[in-house]
Symmetry: C2
């Protein structure tokens, strides 16, 4: 029986992969990765140039769901069927004796797509998960300002949440991370204003990558890159 390795690759810079992830990727005979239809795949791009020449690549292409509303049960059904299918494919391969490295952006257990494979595979084949540097760690590092001091409470929010929920959580936390900002930037900005924290906010795009950009939100304009854009409010806790 082979194993499935859910390997966190970190925020994007290949040098920020862990020593263990780097070794597993370089030695892999089979890799699998998610990608959108017709795209090269963001996790696949991170490991470009360090793979074995004879590696077998399994591209797990998301079904096209743009015509289904996110809250339509058909959307979840479509994704569920997809995850079942690719999990079955990996399971079969592992049962035939092959190890498979699944490439995961960021940390596999932190809002990661791998989790949908993990829950379907873990009771059937050996699965090992390798934690990784999160995109938010790379983002706060890019601002050059520490994120949490002393007893600061950090809350991680999603730009897809309702404006009211955003305001409520932003008001209660000392340090704030908002992920999935992209097209939600205006809403996130209004919520920060309502919570009285917009003046301290930063926008970070593509942290740790060549295109990295970290600026105070006031200077960021009205657009954020659709991927990997994170809004940050740093904590102000005690510091001797």
């Amino acid at each position: 029986m082979g194993s499935v390795y859910g390997v966190g690759l970190g925020p994007g810079d290949p040098e920020l992969m862990s020593v263990r992830a780097d070794r597993l990727v370089r030695g892999a005979g089979h890799i699998a990765f998610f990608r959108k239809s017709g795209r090269p795949g963001r996790s696949r791009a991170i490991v470009d140039g360090i793979l074995r020449h004879d590696v077998v690549e399994i591209a797990m292409e998301y079904p096209v769901t743009t015509e289904i509303p996110l809250d339509d049960p058909a959307y979840a059904d479509c994704l569920s069927a997809f995850y079942e299918q690719v999990a079955g494919q990996l399971r079969k391969l592992a049962e035939s004796g092959e190890d498979i490295v699944v490439l995961c952006e960021g940390d596999p257990f932190f809002y990661g797509s791998f989790m949908h494979l993990y829950t379907r595979l873990k009771d059937h084949v050996p699965v090992e998960v390798i934690p990784a540097i999160t995109g938010m760690s790379a983002a706060w590092t890019a601002t050059g300002i520490p994120i949490t001091w002393g007893d600061d409470v950090l809350s991680v929010l999603l730009g897809t949440m309702s404006e009211d929920d955003l305001v409520r959580h932003m008001a209660a936390a000392d340090a704030i991370i908002v992920m999935k900002v992209g097209r939600n930037l205006s809403k996130v900005r209004r919520a920060l204003e309502a919570a009285g924290k917009v003046d301290r906010a930063w926008l970070v795009e593509c942290a740790s990558m060549l295109e990295e950009r970290a600026v105070p939100l006031a200077e960021a304009g009205d657009r954020a890159s659709p991927y990997f854009s994170i809004v940050i409010v740093h904590g102000q806790g005690r510091r001797p």
Copy 2:
């Protein structure tokens, strides 16, 4: 002019250091690290066996403050004077042309001691910060359960907070991390009970280290190791 590198080492397993951190540590001519008086130092222990034979080691020993209450201004003054002194020492060394690698447990900008050096050095000498895998990533990986799904809100709390504050934040969040649990375990447990989440909580000690232990909080008993003990409540968000 030399540079100061704030190098995150991750949660404890040397294999979870980043490729970049690993290279910087192996090549370092000068390393500096915090430790308690008379102890080897927890960050120093992570890199044991991979240092250059001629490396110069600078142990930054915390002053003994056990007789000063934490809320006494004398406590902050004592620590502040200590950070000033060691920052001055590193600054002098960098100005003499030496690069210095400061060893940091976890991620340097996430509740890290290095932040106190960083704020004192960054306007005087080049300082570069290398993000790392946090202790909490290793802790949720150790439970074998993903931490956040869909739009789950994650809040990071400290066991040193008041019980009322803990309850309020625990009630509002979907996924919860409590750091600095140690001698605050009973208070953290009571707060989780009050927030109706104690049944889903886990205790993780020494994540990624040989002594790693991850158990449901109900089976954990009344004691937690003083270092690196983290309480986790996993999010229950949508999952196709």
